[in-house]
Protein backbone atom coordinates (compact mmCIF):
# COMPACT_ATOMS: atom_id res chain seq x y z
CA UNK A 1 0.00 0.00 0.00
CA UNK A 2 1.42 3.36 -0.83
CA UNK A 3 1.41 6.26 1.50
CA UNK A 4 -1.24 7.97 -0.40
CA UNK A 5 -3.86 5.36 -0.30
CA UNK A 6 -3.28 4.91 3.37
CA UNK A 7 -3.57 8.52 4.18
CA UNK A 8 -6.75 8.49 2.25
CA UNK A 9 -8.06 5.50 4.07
CA UNK A 10 -11.49 6.15 5.49
CA UNK A 11 -11.45 7.72 8.88
CA UNK A 12 -12.65 5.41 11.57
CA UNK A 13 -16.13 6.02 12.65
CA UNK A 14 -17.59 5.45 16.04
CA UNK A 15 -20.97 6.41 17.16
CA UNK A 16 -20.34 8.11 20.44
CA UNK A 17 -21.27 11.57 21.58
CA UNK A 18 -18.85 14.06 20.08
CA UNK A 19 -18.37 17.18 22.16
CA UNK A 20 -15.28 17.91 20.06
CA UNK A 21 -17.33 17.92 16.93
CA UNK A 22 -19.85 20.26 18.47
CA UNK A 23 -17.17 22.64 19.69
CA UNK A 24 -15.47 22.60 16.30
CA UNK A 25 -18.73 23.34 14.56
CA UNK A 26 -19.53 26.15 16.93
CA UNK A 27 -16.11 27.68 16.56
CA UNK A 28 -16.16 27.55 12.80
CA UNK A 29 -19.63 29.05 12.72
CA UNK A 30 -18.27 31.93 14.76
CA UNK A 31 -15.34 32.33 12.42
CA UNK A 32 -17.62 32.35 9.39
CA UNK A 33 -19.89 34.92 11.02
CA UNK A 34 -16.81 36.98 11.82
CA UNK A 35 -15.70 36.72 8.21
CA UNK A 36 -19.06 37.73 6.79
CA UNK A 37 -20.37 40.29 9.27
CA UNK A 38 -17.53 41.17 11.59
CA UNK A 39 -19.43 44.20 12.83
CA UNK A 40 -21.82 41.85 14.56
CA UNK A 41 -19.21 40.60 16.97
CA UNK A 42 -17.41 43.77 17.91
CA UNK A 43 -18.09 47.45 18.22
CA UNK A 44 -14.53 48.66 17.62
CA UNK A 45 -13.02 49.37 14.24
CA UNK A 46 -10.18 47.09 13.13
CA UNK A 47 -7.94 50.01 12.18
CA UNK A 48 -9.04 52.25 15.01
CA UNK A 49 -5.63 53.48 16.01
CA UNK A 50 -5.19 54.97 19.45
CA UNK A 51 -1.49 55.48 20.02
CA UNK A 52 -2.07 56.37 23.64
CA UNK A 53 -3.64 53.03 24.40
CA UNK A 54 -0.91 50.80 23.07
CA UNK A 55 -0.18 47.40 24.60
CA UNK A 56 -3.02 47.29 27.11
CA UNK A 57 -3.23 43.82 28.51
CA UNK A 58 -6.46 41.85 28.11
CA UNK A 59 -9.30 43.32 30.15
CA UNK A 60 -13.06 43.59 30.13
CA UNK A 61 -12.76 46.52 27.77
CA UNK A 62 -10.24 44.88 25.46
CA UNK A 63 -10.76 41.13 25.69
CA UNK A 64 -7.56 40.29 23.88
CA UNK A 65 -5.74 43.48 24.85
CA UNK A 66 -4.48 46.11 22.43
CA UNK A 67 -1.57 46.12 20.02
CA UNK A 68 1.33 48.48 19.39
CA UNK A 69 -1.05 50.92 17.72
CA UNK A 70 -3.61 50.76 20.48
CA UNK A 71 -5.98 48.77 18.31
CA UNK A 72 -8.26 46.24 19.91
CA UNK A 73 -6.73 42.82 19.24
CA UNK A 74 -10.06 41.04 19.59
CA UNK A 75 -11.57 43.28 16.93
CA UNK A 76 -8.65 42.66 14.64
CA UNK A 77 -8.93 38.94 15.17
CA UNK A 78 -12.62 39.15 14.29
CA UNK A 79 -12.00 41.25 11.20
CA UNK A 80 -9.02 39.10 10.33
CA UNK A 81 -11.23 36.07 9.92
CA UNK A 82 -12.30 37.21 6.47
CA UNK A 83 -8.82 37.61 5.04
CA UNK A 84 -7.54 34.51 6.76
CA UNK A 85 -10.40 32.41 5.49
CA UNK A 86 -9.89 33.91 2.06
CA UNK A 87 -6.29 32.77 2.17
CA UNK A 88 -7.14 29.39 3.66
CA UNK A 89 -10.04 28.60 1.35
CA UNK A 90 -8.59 30.33 -1.68
CA UNK A 91 -5.23 28.65 -1.45
CA UNK A 92 -6.82 25.27 -0.87
CA UNK A 93 -9.19 25.74 -3.79
CA UNK A 94 -6.34 26.73 -6.07
CA UNK A 95 -4.07 23.91 -5.05
CA UNK A 96 -6.92 21.42 -5.31
CA UNK A 97 -7.88 22.74 -8.73
CA UNK A 98 -4.36 22.55 -10.05
CA UNK A 99 -3.90 19.21 -8.36
CA UNK A 100 -6.99 17.83 -10.02
CA UNK A 101 -5.88 19.07 -13.40
CA UNK A 102 -2.43 17.56 -13.10
CA UNK A 103 -3.36 14.46 -11.18
CA UNK A 104 -6.29 13.48 -13.36
CA UNK A 105 -4.51 14.05 -16.62
CA UNK A 106 -1.66 11.90 -15.33
CA UNK A 107 -3.99 9.10 -14.35
CA UNK A 108 -6.17 9.25 -17.44
CA UNK A 109 -3.93 10.52 -20.16
CA UNK A 110 -1.96 7.41 -20.89
CA UNK A 111 1.62 6.58 -20.25
CA UNK A 112 3.22 9.58 -21.90
CA UNK A 113 1.11 12.17 -20.18
CA UNK A 114 1.68 10.35 -16.93
CA UNK A 115 5.43 10.46 -17.46
CA UNK A 116 5.29 14.14 -18.35
CA UNK A 117 3.14 15.04 -15.37
CA UNK A 118 5.41 12.92 -13.19
CA UNK A 119 8.38 14.99 -14.26
CA UNK A 120 6.49 18.24 -13.80
CA UNK A 121 5.59 17.22 -10.30
CA UNK A 122 9.17 16.28 -9.59
CA UNK A 123 10.34 19.71 -10.70
CA UNK A 124 7.64 21.33 -8.62
CA UNK A 125 8.72 19.32 -5.62
CA UNK A 126 12.35 20.12 -6.20
CA UNK A 127 11.42 23.77 -6.39
CA UNK A 128 10.95 24.96 -2.83
CA UNK A 129 7.38 26.11 -2.36
CA UNK A 130 8.67 29.28 -0.83
CA UNK A 131 10.61 30.16 -3.95
CA UNK A 132 7.51 29.72 -6.05
CA UNK A 133 5.59 31.92 -3.69
CA UNK A 134 8.28 34.60 -3.71
CA UNK A 135 8.49 34.70 -7.48
CA UNK A 136 4.77 34.87 -7.75
CA UNK A 137 4.58 37.69 -5.25
CA UNK A 138 7.36 39.51 -7.05
CA UNK A 139 5.27 39.48 -10.19
CA UNK A 140 1.88 40.23 -8.75
CA UNK A 141 2.68 42.13 -5.61
CA UNK A 142 1.76 41.41 -2.03
CA UNK A 143 -1.67 41.10 -0.47
CA UNK A 144 -4.10 38.49 0.76
CA UNK A 145 -5.19 37.46 -2.72
CA UNK A 146 -1.69 37.01 -4.06
CA UNK A 147 -0.71 35.27 -0.84
CA UNK A 148 -3.58 32.85 -1.38
CA UNK A 149 -2.57 32.22 -4.97
CA UNK A 150 1.09 31.91 -4.10
CA UNK A 151 0.41 29.44 -1.31
CA UNK A 152 -2.04 27.60 -3.53
CA UNK A 153 0.54 27.13 -6.25
CA UNK A 154 3.13 26.08 -3.73
CA UNK A 155 0.89 23.36 -2.36
CA UNK A 156 -0.52 22.11 -5.64
CA UNK A 157 2.17 19.52 -6.24
CA UNK A 158 1.26 17.65 -3.08
CA UNK A 159 -2.38 17.43 -4.01
CA UNK A 160 -1.58 16.49 -7.57
CA UNK A 161 0.44 13.60 -6.33
CA UNK A 162 -2.34 12.39 -4.08
CA UNK A 163 -4.97 12.79 -6.75
CA UNK A 164 -2.82 11.02 -9.27
CA UNK A 165 -2.46 7.94 -7.13
CA UNK A 166 -6.06 8.04 -6.03
CA UNK A 167 -7.24 8.41 -9.60
CA UNK A 168 -5.06 5.55 -10.72
CA UNK A 169 -6.79 3.32 -8.19
CA UNK A 170 -10.25 4.55 -9.15
CA UNK A 171 -9.61 4.14 -12.86
CA UNK A 172 -8.69 0.52 -12.25
CA UNK A 173 -11.69 -0.11 -10.03
CA UNK A 174 -14.50 -2.48 -10.78
CA UNK A 175 -17.13 0.22 -10.98
CA UNK A 176 -15.27 2.20 -13.60
CA UNK A 177 -14.88 -0.98 -15.56
CA UNK A 178 -18.58 -1.61 -15.10
CA UNK A 179 -19.38 1.83 -16.46
CA UNK A 180 -17.13 1.22 -19.44
CA UNK A 181 -18.65 -2.20 -19.92
CA UNK A 182 -22.08 -0.61 -20.16
CA UNK A 183 -20.82 1.42 -23.06
CA UNK A 184 -20.78 4.89 -21.51
CA UNK A 185 -18.56 7.44 -23.19
CA UNK A 186 -15.19 8.16 -21.57
CA UNK A 187 -16.17 11.76 -20.87
CA UNK A 188 -19.22 10.63 -19.01
CA UNK A 189 -17.30 8.02 -17.07
CA UNK A 190 -14.76 10.61 -15.95
CA UNK A 191 -17.35 13.18 -15.06
CA UNK A 192 -19.85 11.00 -13.27
CA UNK A 193 -17.75 8.22 -11.84
CA UNK A 194 -14.03 8.91 -11.72
CA UNK A 195 -13.94 12.49 -10.56
CA UNK A 196 -16.40 12.20 -7.66
CA UNK A 197 -14.68 9.13 -6.34
CA UNK A 198 -11.27 10.70 -6.61
CA UNK A 199 -12.38 13.76 -4.71
CA UNK A 200 -14.35 12.06 -1.97
CA UNK A 201 -11.41 11.01 0.19
CA UNK A 202 -9.77 14.38 -0.31
CA UNK A 203 -12.41 16.06 1.83
CA UNK A 204 -10.52 15.54 5.07
CA UNK A 205 -7.23 16.45 3.53
CA UNK A 206 -8.56 19.62 2.02
CA UNK A 207 -9.97 20.78 5.31
CA UNK A 208 -6.60 20.17 6.91
CA UNK A 209 -5.13 22.21 4.10
CA UNK A 210 -7.22 25.25 5.02
CA UNK A 211 -5.46 25.72 8.32
CA UNK A 212 -2.11 24.83 6.85
CA UNK A 213 -2.50 27.49 4.21
CA UNK A 214 -3.12 30.18 6.80
CA UNK A 215 0.04 29.10 8.60
CA UNK A 216 1.94 29.10 5.34
CA UNK A 217 0.73 32.57 4.56
CA UNK A 218 1.81 33.73 8.00
CA UNK A 219 5.34 32.72 7.09
CA UNK A 220 5.03 35.01 4.11
CA UNK A 221 3.94 37.74 6.49
CA UNK A 222 6.96 36.98 8.64
CA UNK A 223 9.06 37.67 5.58
CA UNK A 224 7.04 40.83 5.01
CA UNK A 225 5.28 39.51 1.94
CA UNK A 226 1.85 38.60 3.24
CA UNK A 227 -1.32 40.62 3.61
CA UNK A 228 -0.86 44.38 3.38
CA UNK A 229 -1.17 46.61 6.43
CA UNK A 230 -3.40 47.74 8.00
CA UNK A 231 -5.42 44.69 6.98
CA UNK A 232 -6.06 42.48 9.96
CA UNK A 233 -4.91 39.03 8.91
CA UNK A 234 -4.07 36.43 11.51
CA UNK A 235 -0.78 35.40 10.00
CA UNK A 236 0.36 38.98 9.65
CA UNK A 237 -0.73 39.82 13.20
CA UNK A 238 1.14 36.81 14.49
CA UNK A 239 4.22 37.78 12.54
CA UNK A 240 4.16 41.42 13.64
CA UNK A 241 3.44 40.53 17.24
CA UNK A 242 6.34 38.13 17.62
CA UNK A 243 8.82 40.89 18.42
CA UNK A 244 6.68 42.06 21.30
CA UNK A 245 6.23 38.60 22.73
CA UNK A 246 8.08 39.49 25.92
CA UNK A 247 6.08 42.59 26.61
CA UNK A 248 2.71 41.97 25.05
CA UNK A 249 2.24 38.26 24.48
CA UNK A 250 -1.41 38.77 23.65
CA UNK A 251 -0.78 40.52 20.35
CA UNK A 252 0.50 37.35 18.78
CA UNK A 253 -1.00 34.74 21.06
CA UNK A 254 -4.63 35.30 20.11
CA UNK A 255 -4.20 35.35 16.36
CA UNK A 256 -2.03 32.26 16.75
CA UNK A 257 -4.66 30.62 18.89
CA UNK A 258 -7.26 31.30 16.24
CA UNK A 259 -5.12 29.82 13.51
CA UNK A 260 -4.57 26.71 15.57
CA UNK A 261 -8.21 26.43 16.57
CA UNK A 262 -9.33 26.89 13.00
CA UNK A 263 -6.94 24.19 11.83
CA UNK A 264 -8.10 21.94 14.61
CA UNK A 265 -11.78 22.57 13.91
CA UNK A 266 -11.53 22.17 10.17
CA UNK A 267 -9.60 18.98 10.71
CA UNK A 268 -12.16 17.61 13.11
CA UNK A 269 -14.95 18.56 10.76
CA UNK A 270 -13.04 17.28 7.77
CA UNK A 271 -12.53 13.90 9.38
CA UNK A 272 -16.15 13.84 10.31
CA UNK A 273 -17.15 14.88 6.82
CA UNK A 274 -15.07 12.13 5.34
CA UNK A 275 -16.44 9.60 7.79
CA UNK A 276 -19.91 10.80 6.95
CA UNK A 277 -19.29 10.44 3.25
CA UNK A 278 -17.90 6.98 3.84
CA UNK A 279 -20.85 6.01 6.00
CA UNK A 280 -23.30 7.41 3.53
CA UNK A 281 -21.90 5.05 1.01
CA UNK A 282 -21.94 2.14 3.45
Amino acid sequence: MTALTTSLAPARTRSRPRPGLFAAGLFLTLVVVAALVPGLLTSYAPDGIKPAEFFRSPSAEHWFGTDQNGRDVYTRVVYGAGQSLLIGLGATAISLGLGILLGLSAALGGRRVDFAVGRVLEVLFAFPGLLLALLFIAVFGTGAVTAAIAVGIGEAAGYARLIRSQATTVVRSGYVEAARGLGHSPARVVRRTVLPNVLRPLAALATLGIGQSVVWASSLSFLGLGAQPPAAEWGAMLADGRTFLQYAWWTSFFPGLFIVLTTLSTTVLGRRLQAWLDVRSS
Binding site: A3, F127, G129, Q212, V215, S219
Partner: protein, 317 residues
Protein backbone atom coordinates in the same frame (compact mmCIF):
# COMPACT_ATOMS: atom_id res chain seq x y z
CA UNK B 1 4.56 -8.31 -14.18
CA UNK B 2 8.18 -8.40 -15.07
CA UNK B 3 10.75 -5.92 -13.86
CA UNK B 4 12.96 -4.38 -16.52
CA UNK B 5 16.65 -5.19 -16.23
CA UNK B 6 18.69 -3.29 -13.69
CA UNK B 7 20.73 -1.23 -16.14
CA UNK B 8 17.55 0.07 -17.75
CA UNK B 9 16.09 1.05 -14.43
CA UNK B 10 19.31 2.85 -13.52
CA UNK B 11 19.35 4.53 -16.90
CA UNK B 12 15.76 5.67 -16.61
CA UNK B 13 16.47 7.05 -13.16
CA UNK B 14 19.56 8.93 -14.24
CA UNK B 15 17.80 10.31 -17.29
CA UNK B 16 14.85 11.32 -15.16
CA UNK B 17 17.13 13.09 -12.70
CA UNK B 18 18.93 14.91 -15.50
CA UNK B 19 15.62 15.98 -16.95
CA UNK B 20 14.48 17.32 -13.62
CA UNK B 21 17.71 19.26 -13.14
CA UNK B 22 17.51 20.74 -16.61
CA UNK B 23 13.88 21.71 -16.12
CA UNK B 24 14.64 23.24 -12.74
CA UNK B 25 17.48 25.31 -14.19
CA UNK B 26 15.36 26.44 -17.12
CA UNK B 27 12.35 27.35 -15.04
CA UNK B 28 14.59 29.27 -12.66
CA UNK B 29 16.20 31.16 -15.49
CA UNK B 30 13.01 32.27 -17.09
CA UNK B 31 11.19 32.86 -13.84
CA UNK B 32 13.89 35.21 -12.67
CA UNK B 33 13.84 37.07 -15.95
CA UNK B 34 10.11 37.25 -15.92
CA UNK B 35 9.74 38.82 -12.53
CA UNK B 36 10.25 42.54 -12.32
CA UNK B 37 13.38 43.76 -10.65
CA UNK B 38 16.73 44.50 -12.20
CA UNK B 39 19.52 42.68 -10.39
CA UNK B 40 21.93 45.48 -11.22
CA UNK B 41 19.79 48.15 -9.72
CA UNK B 42 19.19 46.04 -6.64
CA UNK B 43 22.89 45.63 -6.37
CA UNK B 44 23.77 49.26 -6.67
CA UNK B 45 20.78 50.75 -4.96
CA UNK B 46 21.23 48.99 -1.67
CA UNK B 47 20.10 50.63 1.52
CA UNK B 48 18.01 53.70 1.34
CA UNK B 49 19.45 54.93 -1.90
CA UNK B 50 22.74 55.46 -3.57
CA UNK B 51 24.01 57.45 -6.46
CA UNK B 52 25.90 55.29 -8.88
CA UNK B 53 26.92 56.92 -12.13
CA UNK B 54 25.39 55.67 -15.40
CA UNK B 55 28.80 54.26 -16.35
CA UNK B 56 28.75 52.19 -13.19
CA UNK B 57 25.35 50.82 -14.05
CA UNK B 58 26.38 49.94 -17.59
CA UNK B 59 29.59 48.33 -16.42
CA UNK B 60 27.78 46.23 -13.86
CA UNK B 61 25.23 45.14 -16.41
CA UNK B 62 27.96 44.12 -18.79
CA UNK B 63 29.89 42.31 -16.10
CA UNK B 64 27.00 39.89 -15.59
CA UNK B 65 26.21 39.54 -19.24
CA UNK B 66 22.84 41.14 -18.67
CA UNK B 67 23.23 43.33 -21.75
CA UNK B 68 22.96 40.29 -24.05
CA UNK B 69 19.75 39.08 -25.67
CA UNK B 70 17.78 36.66 -23.52
CA UNK B 71 18.41 33.57 -25.63
CA UNK B 72 22.15 34.21 -25.60
CA UNK B 73 22.03 34.58 -21.86
CA UNK B 74 20.11 31.32 -21.57
CA UNK B 75 22.54 29.47 -23.82
CA UNK B 76 25.50 30.80 -21.87
CA UNK B 77 23.79 29.97 -18.62
CA UNK B 78 23.13 26.37 -19.63
CA UNK B 79 26.54 26.05 -21.19
CA UNK B 80 28.19 27.14 -17.98
CA UNK B 81 26.05 24.79 -15.93
CA UNK B 82 26.92 21.89 -18.23
CA UNK B 83 30.59 22.42 -17.54
CA UNK B 84 29.79 22.37 -13.85
CA UNK B 85 30.40 26.10 -13.45
CA UNK B 86 27.71 27.58 -11.27
CA UNK B 87 29.00 31.09 -11.75
CA UNK B 88 29.52 33.93 -9.31
CA UNK B 89 26.74 35.19 -7.11
CA UNK B 90 25.85 38.71 -8.15
CA UNK B 91 24.72 39.71 -4.71
CA UNK B 92 27.42 38.05 -2.61
CA UNK B 93 30.22 38.43 -5.15
CA UNK B 94 31.46 35.03 -4.29
CA UNK B 95 31.44 31.92 -6.41
CA UNK B 96 28.18 30.04 -6.04
CA UNK B 97 30.07 26.85 -5.35
CA UNK B 98 31.78 28.49 -2.40
CA UNK B 99 28.54 29.95 -1.08
CA UNK B 100 26.93 26.54 -1.21
CA UNK B 101 29.81 24.67 0.36
CA UNK B 102 29.79 27.30 3.08
CA UNK B 103 26.08 27.23 3.73
CA UNK B 104 25.26 23.61 3.08
CA UNK B 105 26.76 21.86 6.10
CA UNK B 106 24.70 23.91 8.49
CA UNK B 107 21.54 23.24 6.51
CA UNK B 108 22.23 19.57 6.18
CA UNK B 109 22.88 19.18 9.90
CA UNK B 110 19.73 21.05 10.70
CA UNK B 111 17.65 19.10 8.19
CA UNK B 112 18.96 15.76 9.33
CA UNK B 113 18.44 16.49 13.00
CA UNK B 114 15.01 17.97 12.35
CA UNK B 115 13.97 14.87 10.44
CA UNK B 116 15.30 12.67 13.20
CA UNK B 117 13.50 14.68 15.90
CA UNK B 118 10.32 14.70 13.87
CA UNK B 119 10.44 10.95 13.53
CA UNK B 120 11.18 10.40 17.18
CA UNK B 121 8.45 12.75 18.36
CA UNK B 122 5.92 11.33 15.94
CA UNK B 123 6.77 7.75 16.88
CA UNK B 124 6.64 8.48 20.60
CA UNK B 125 3.29 10.25 20.43
CA UNK B 126 1.89 7.55 18.20
CA UNK B 127 3.01 4.63 20.30
CA UNK B 128 1.78 6.30 23.46
CA UNK B 129 -1.58 7.25 22.05
CA UNK B 130 -2.75 4.42 19.87
CA UNK B 131 -3.71 2.12 22.69
CA UNK B 132 -7.27 1.00 23.18
CA UNK B 133 -8.46 4.15 24.93
CA UNK B 134 -10.41 6.57 22.79
CA UNK B 135 -9.39 9.50 24.98
CA UNK B 136 -5.70 8.83 24.49
CA UNK B 137 -6.19 8.52 20.76
CA UNK B 138 -8.13 11.74 20.52
CA UNK B 139 -5.53 13.51 22.64
CA UNK B 140 -2.67 12.25 20.51
CA UNK B 141 -4.42 13.16 17.31
CA UNK B 142 -5.32 16.59 18.67
CA UNK B 143 -1.74 17.21 19.71
CA UNK B 144 -0.59 16.37 16.23
CA UNK B 145 -3.08 18.68 14.63
CA UNK B 146 -2.00 21.53 16.88
CA UNK B 147 1.66 20.77 16.25
CA UNK B 148 1.13 20.66 12.51
CA UNK B 149 -0.51 24.07 12.69
CA UNK B 150 2.28 25.91 14.52
CA UNK B 151 4.03 28.56 12.44
CA UNK B 152 7.79 28.11 12.60
CA UNK B 153 8.70 31.66 13.43
CA UNK B 154 6.29 31.76 16.33
CA UNK B 155 7.33 28.43 17.71
CA UNK B 156 10.96 29.43 17.28
CA UNK B 157 10.56 32.66 19.23
CA UNK B 158 8.62 30.90 21.98
CA UNK B 159 11.19 28.11 22.29
CA UNK B 160 13.95 30.68 22.37
CA UNK B 161 12.20 32.68 25.01
CA UNK B 162 11.49 29.72 27.24
CA UNK B 163 14.50 27.47 26.81
CA UNK B 164 17.27 29.82 25.87
CA UNK B 165 16.35 33.02 27.54
CA UNK B 166 14.33 32.05 30.61
CA UNK B 167 15.85 28.67 31.41
CA UNK B 168 19.20 29.20 29.78
CA UNK B 169 19.48 25.60 28.69
CA UNK B 170 20.44 26.40 25.16
CA UNK B 171 22.36 29.20 23.48
CA UNK B 172 20.20 32.00 22.18
CA UNK B 173 21.43 32.17 18.66
CA UNK B 174 23.71 30.35 16.32
CA UNK B 175 25.38 28.37 19.04
CA UNK B 176 27.93 26.00 17.70
CA UNK B 177 27.79 22.24 17.84
CA UNK B 178 24.92 20.04 18.73
CA UNK B 179 23.62 22.15 21.58
CA UNK B 180 23.05 25.09 19.26
CA UNK B 181 21.20 22.89 16.81
CA UNK B 182 18.63 21.61 19.25
CA UNK B 183 16.21 24.52 19.35
CA UNK B 184 16.17 25.23 15.62
CA UNK B 185 15.83 21.55 14.87
CA UNK B 186 12.95 21.28 17.33
CA UNK B 187 11.28 24.28 15.76
CA UNK B 188 11.35 22.51 12.44
CA UNK B 189 10.59 19.10 13.86
CA UNK B 190 7.47 19.79 15.87
CA UNK B 191 5.17 20.85 13.02
CA UNK B 192 6.64 18.15 10.80
CA UNK B 193 6.14 15.57 13.52
CA UNK B 194 2.53 16.63 13.70
CA UNK B 195 2.12 16.05 10.01
CA UNK B 196 4.03 12.79 9.89
CA UNK B 197 2.20 11.71 13.01
CA UNK B 198 -1.16 12.24 11.40
CA UNK B 199 -0.21 10.12 8.44
CA UNK B 200 1.47 7.45 10.53
CA UNK B 201 -1.47 7.30 12.89
CA UNK B 202 -3.92 6.53 10.12
CA UNK B 203 -1.58 3.90 8.75
CA UNK B 204 -0.95 2.39 12.18
CA UNK B 205 -4.62 2.17 13.01
CA UNK B 206 -5.22 0.59 9.63
CA UNK B 207 -2.42 -1.87 10.23
CA UNK B 208 -3.74 -2.69 13.70
CA UNK B 209 -6.99 -3.73 12.09
CA UNK B 210 -5.23 -6.20 9.85
CA UNK B 211 -5.72 -9.89 10.55
CA UNK B 212 -2.00 -10.53 10.83
CA UNK B 213 -2.01 -8.42 13.98
CA UNK B 214 -4.72 -10.59 15.53
CA UNK B 215 -2.82 -13.55 14.24
CA UNK B 216 0.30 -12.45 16.11
CA UNK B 217 -1.67 -11.94 19.28
CA UNK B 218 -3.21 -15.37 18.87
CA UNK B 219 0.32 -16.70 19.01
CA UNK B 220 0.76 -15.08 22.41
CA UNK B 221 2.24 -11.72 21.60
CA UNK B 222 1.28 -8.79 23.81
CA UNK B 223 -0.73 -5.89 22.45
CA UNK B 224 2.08 -3.40 23.04
CA UNK B 225 4.67 -5.59 21.37
CA UNK B 226 2.44 -6.10 18.39
CA UNK B 227 2.02 -2.36 18.08
CA UNK B 228 5.67 -1.50 18.35
CA UNK B 229 7.21 -4.47 16.57
CA UNK B 230 4.69 -5.48 13.94
CA UNK B 231 2.19 -2.77 13.10
CA UNK B 232 4.61 0.14 13.35
CA UNK B 233 6.70 -1.25 10.55
CA UNK B 234 3.68 -1.11 8.28
CA UNK B 235 2.78 2.32 9.51
CA UNK B 236 6.24 3.57 8.64
CA UNK B 237 5.72 3.14 4.95
CA UNK B 238 3.53 6.17 4.23
CA UNK B 239 5.59 8.67 6.22
CA UNK B 240 8.72 7.19 4.72
CA UNK B 241 7.40 7.99 1.28
CA UNK B 242 6.62 11.45 2.57
CA UNK B 243 10.17 11.99 3.77
CA UNK B 244 11.24 12.99 0.30
CA UNK B 245 8.58 15.62 0.32
CA UNK B 246 9.43 16.53 3.90
CA UNK B 247 13.02 17.35 3.02
CA UNK B 248 11.81 19.71 0.35
CA UNK B 249 9.39 21.33 2.75
CA UNK B 250 12.13 21.64 5.36
CA UNK B 251 14.21 23.70 2.97
CA UNK B 252 11.37 26.18 2.72
CA UNK B 253 10.80 26.27 6.44
CA UNK B 254 14.49 26.70 7.11
CA UNK B 255 14.37 30.14 5.60
CA UNK B 256 12.30 31.24 8.55
CA UNK B 257 14.08 29.21 11.19
CA UNK B 258 17.50 30.28 10.04
CA UNK B 259 16.42 33.89 10.30
CA UNK B 260 14.97 33.48 13.79
CA UNK B 261 18.01 31.62 15.10
CA UNK B 262 20.51 33.58 13.03
CA UNK B 263 21.95 30.48 11.46
CA UNK B 264 23.79 30.00 8.24
CA UNK B 265 22.00 27.99 5.63
CA UNK B 266 20.97 27.66 2.04
CA UNK B 267 17.36 28.48 2.85
CA UNK B 268 18.12 32.03 3.87
CA UNK B 269 20.67 32.34 1.10
CA UNK B 270 17.95 31.40 -1.34
CA UNK B 271 15.57 33.97 0.05
CA UNK B 272 18.16 36.71 -0.21
CA UNK B 273 19.18 35.56 -3.64
CA UNK B 274 15.62 35.72 -4.90
CA UNK B 275 15.15 39.13 -3.41
CA UNK B 276 18.35 40.30 -5.06
CA UNK B 277 17.40 38.57 -8.35
CA UNK B 278 20.72 36.80 -8.10
CA UNK B 279 20.31 34.29 -10.92
CA UNK B 280 23.50 32.28 -10.46
CA UNK B 281 22.89 31.79 -6.76
CA UNK B 282 19.18 30.99 -7.13
CA UNK B 283 19.99 28.49 -9.86
CA UNK B 284 22.75 26.94 -7.81
CA UNK B 285 20.55 26.48 -4.79
CA UNK B 286 17.57 25.22 -6.78
CA UNK B 287 19.80 22.67 -8.46
CA UNK B 288 21.19 21.73 -5.09
CA UNK B 289 17.74 21.21 -3.64
CA UNK B 290 16.65 19.27 -6.70
CA UNK B 291 19.69 17.05 -6.34
CA UNK B 292 19.07 16.54 -2.65
CA UNK B 293 15.46 15.75 -3.48
CA UNK B 294 16.48 13.20 -6.09
CA UNK B 295 19.00 11.65 -3.72
CA UNK B 296 16.60 11.57 -0.80
CA UNK B 297 14.03 9.88 -2.98
CA UNK B 298 16.60 7.33 -3.99
CA UNK B 299 17.41 6.72 -0.34
CA UNK B 300 13.72 6.51 0.46
CA UNK B 301 13.31 3.92 -2.27
CA UNK B 302 16.15 1.88 -0.86
CA UNK B 303 14.86 2.19 2.68
CA UNK B 304 11.43 1.35 1.46
CA UNK B 305 12.74 -1.85 0.00
CA UNK B 306 14.24 -2.67 3.38
CA UNK B 307 11.02 -2.02 5.26
CA UNK B 308 8.79 -3.51 2.62
CA UNK B 309 10.59 -6.16 0.61
CA UNK B 310 7.51 -6.72 -1.50
CA UNK B 311 8.27 -3.76 -3.66
CA UNK B 312 11.48 -2.70 -5.23
CA UNK B 313 10.20 0.74 -6.11
CA UNK B 314 7.39 2.28 -4.11
CA UNK B 315 6.29 5.16 -6.29
CA UNK B 316 7.86 6.84 -9.17
CA UNK B 317 7.38 10.35 -7.89
Amino acid sequence: MTTPPLYRRVLVRVAGAALVLWAAATVTFFALHLVPGDPVLVLLGGGSGANPTPETIAATRHAYGLDQPLYVQYAQHLGRLLTGDLGVSTSLKESVGTVITEQLPSTLQLTALALLFAWLIAAAVILLSTGEGAVGRALGSGLETVAAGLPHFWLGVVLLYVFAFRLGWFPVAGGTGFIGLVLPALTLAVPLAGYLGQVTRVALLTALDQPFVTSARLRGMSAGAVRARRALRHALLPPLTLSGWAVGALFSSEVVVEAVFARQGVGRALLNAVIARDLPLVTGIVLLIATVYVLVNLAVDLLYAVVDPRVRTPREI
